[in-house]
């Protein structure tokens, strides 16, 4: 049997579409973990990136912290956190947020820094408050890059959220881990396929968000 046969067998089995271990349920769990981790990471990364980008201060410290965070292995961190605080949603969220903050933070910082200084100078010269300059000039112009940071963070979360299953939580990682344990390769392939599809869906969502949120004047079409 090859991979396609495994996938076909997994998805054509009606039993995989119902119940607490069914595909809709696991997909929903996975999406929930992803959204929660992305929201937390954005809550940290966006304001810090916007502010440091606007003032231009703290760029070096930011790069250092981001690189240090990138060097942390997510799975190792998960094990460490579980040992420290036990099982639950929180120990899963910590490695995912640590994983997602650096791309959001660094890209947002760079995005704001790279905004053409002329409109910013013009805005300041016409008496715009600094907060308005940031939110109404720099943010809309930097938005395509900021979205790309959020997108790569989201993709990384989608693929890494499978580790939640290691600490008895749900999500698509359940199929992969249980499948490996039970030597049920249909399950492993099915789970992996679903993760890949979800990653592609995430790309599509960000593409649509870009079309919707970025001004045509910035997109230049």
């Amino acid at each position: 049997m090859n991979v396609l046969d495994f996938a076909h067998a997994f998805f054509s089995d009606g039993a995989h579409w119902h119940g607490y271990d069914g595909i809709p349920q696991r997909l929903l769990e996975h999406v929930r973990y992803t959204l929660l981790a992305l929201a937390l990471a954005a809550l940290i990364g966006l304001p810090v990136g916007l502010l440091t980008g606007h003032t231009g201060r703290g760029g070096n410290a930011l790069a250092f912290i981001a690189n240090a965070a990138r060097a942390l292995p997510s799975f190792g961190l998960l094990v460490l956190v579980v040992l420290l605080i036990g099982f639950g949603l929180l120990p899963v969220m910590i490695p995912l947020v640590v994983l997602a903050v650096p791309p959001i933070l660094v890209t947002t910082y760079e995005a704001v820094r790279s905004v053409d200084p002329s409109p910013v100078d013009a805005a300041r010269g016409m008496g715009m408050h600094e907060s308005r300059i940031l939110l109404q000039v720099e943010l809309p112009v930097a938005l395509p890059l900021i979205l790309s940071g959020l997108r790569s963070a989201a993709i990384q979360i989608v693929s890494t959220a499978t580790i939640a299953a290691y600490v008895s939580l749900g999500g698509l990682g359940r199929y992969i881990i249980d499948g490996l344990y039970q030597r049920d390769y249909e399950k492993v392939v099915g789970g992996a396929t679903l993760v890949a599809v979800l990653a592609l869906l995430t790309l599509a969502v960000f593409w649509a968000a870009g079309r919707f949120a970025v001004s045509p004047g910035v997109r230049r079409r």
Partner: protein, 374 residues
Amino acid sequence: MIRIDSVTKRYPDGTVAVDRLSLDIPDRSITVLVGPSGCGKTTTLRMINRMVEPTEGTILLDGEDIRRQPVTALRRSMGYVIQNAGLFPHRTIVDNIATVPRMLGWGRRRARERAAELMERVGLDTSLAQRYPYQLSGGQQQRVGVARALAADPPVLLMDEPFSAVDPVVRKGLQDELLRIQEELGKTIVFVTHDIDEAVKLGTMVAVLRRGGRLAQYAPPAELLSAPADGFVEDFLGADRGIRRLSFFPSAALELTTDAVIPADAPAERIAASDARYLLVTDSDGRPLGWTEPGEPAAGGIRTDRLLPHGRPFVPGADSLRVALDCAVLSPTGWAVAVDDDGRVTGVVSQQTIAEAIRAAHAQGRTGKTEVAR
């Protein structure tokens, strides 16, 4: 009036950008700050709206220290135009122009109506209202920049090399447009440029700054050209300041002669009787056709297809002596052709006559009766 009172800007590394500069900028006129790069002209401009804070000295606006009001309120009372226009790329043209009125709390509709009105004022087609900046040419973008600065009708306009990034033809158009707008609106404009021709063309008063941020001369452009304060100003004005100064002398007083002007269907005797070296031939409407030499016409009258070109004519009264001289220099015969507003010949004038008028104008200029006409 804006009074710059003994203002110095010194940076932490010890660089002095502006050195004890004092300048009274009159209301409702264009004051140009001009000088080589590093002379502190932009720094001076940016101190007026507090984009840069002076190290020493004060700037007074209508007698009041500009630091006595909130910085945003000060800036909203001064339009600000910068080199690359600095338009907001994510906003449409109409929303760009409506920015300050919206900040001042105007309703969206009123702000947009005002923006449309300003687009017409600066010579932009209102069909561009919903475009984005990247869809406009550099010259159009700069017009939007001017419109945006004028949107809330501020009494003061600060312009930092606004026309230096566009090509010469577009720049001339923008300069003419600015003079026209100023004629209508009478703003207090402070204009920074490194281009002395632009300074002379636009300025009611011109301040020449030298490196290190010191004032070299502050005078009306005609005076600058006739009496540069020192070698630096003279060098900066360039080699042809004598010629450029002629822009400030009107051509209305030039003595024109009509002896050498003949209609194309003039009888041969009249042509033969003329003692002029060249004759200007006109059509039946009195418009110039070209130059001919007397004696040449054979039977059948003047061959209008064999005339020397008459060159560009000038309009006495509207054009300056500089234009008249230019026409004479470019004319194949050395004579300039004068026409009225409808293009009908009113006479011709020789280089000698123009030279005499120049000498007379200079003599008059020395007695302080320089008439400014551009």
